[in-house]
Point group: C2
Chain length 168, copies 2
DNA sequence: CCTCTCTTTCACTTTCTTTTGAAAGTTCAA
DNA sequence: TTGAACTTTCAAAAGAAAGTGAAAGAGAGG
């Protein structure tokens, strides 16, 4: 397979993976493109490679920067901004985990805690079933929270040098 | 908080969580509803509770059954079909993990393996960067695959009685 | 303080997804 | 075999999400 073809296929696969995970296709494609490029690209480069508009490029690059997956690079003497993506996939994974936890898990844990306090007679099987469901989900959410925290912190922690390198 | 209100809020939260995970909102809501109900519901019950059409109900219930998250219940002497959801959240989580792995991770691993074989001089920094990215992602994907397999199998395994119960 | 280049914004358009509801299909008791 | 009860399908409509491009903004350099 030729390099150009392989790149195109990777970008398209990563894009549809992203889409299934509730991430905008273009955002995932830009990320894929930047991961695969040795040097930073400008907005114009991205527009040209992916055939998308300037506005779309700008929006999604900004979002990737918010997620911490892409950095703005300023090249001395150049007016243009360049962009480059983290290429260590473990760092990418921990960034994504951190971000999704913050956006999704944290709010649902808050909600679940509130829902625990539903009033009513526990003899009533509806009340009982509800409380039990919520309690189960709540425990699960807390466990997941802990697990993600460990994962996210693994990069920074004592384990990094030893445990993480086993996986790499 | 009253039970009805709490249920409504749970259904709505679970629905929007699902939406962020690339799962159709209605499907997640039906799942939430069934998790919280002590007894199985009929299609009409679901339609009434969630204010959705018959067709929509039918489609999403069928999809939930495909995912293995909901069972069809036949009550002897009744013509109607009833539906009920798995209420053990750990089982729900392993079902979802199994299903998403099959749909998403397995295909991307296949693609990544193909992309490894890009031709070209490794001295070329574009080729080099591409190969390195793909290799990193591929390793990561295989590790993730193993991790999910362990998680999915944990339910059935020797650990279940000991390890899993610690978390519950 | 003007101009040139690049970035950001936003109202509008396009595309994709979901939902609806009526019609067709199925099943089963009588 | 019929028809009442229930389920499934599907084309059309509505709704949501993403993308466009022109115009406004920003700031460096003259």
């Amino acid at each position: 397979m030729k390099l150009a073809e392989a790149k195109a296929q990777f970008i398209q696969s990563w894009g549809s993976l992203g889409a299934q995970w509730g991430i905008n296709r273009t955002m995932a494609q830009i990320h894929a493109l930047l991961m695969v490029m040795p040097d930073p690209l400008s907005a114009d480069d991205i527009m040209a490679e992916l055939n998308i508009s300037r506005g779309n490029t700008n929006m999604n690059v900004r979002e990737l920067i918010n997620w911490g997956l892409v950095d703005r690079i300023l090249i001395p003497g150049e007016r243009k901004e360049y962009f480059s993506a983290e290429k260590d996939i473990w760092k990418v994974a921990t960034e994504i985990a951190r971000e999704r936890k913050r956006r999704e898990l944290d709010p649902i844990i808050k909600t679940l805690n509130q829902l625990q306090e539903v009033e009513g007679d526990v003899k009533d099987k509806h009340v009982k079933a509800f409380k039990e469901s919520i309690q189960g989900i709540n425990k699960f959410a807390h466990q997941t929270d802990k697990a993600i925290n460990s994962f996210v912190k693994a990069e920074e922690s004592w384990f990094y040098g030893t445990l993480m390198k086993l996986f790499k």
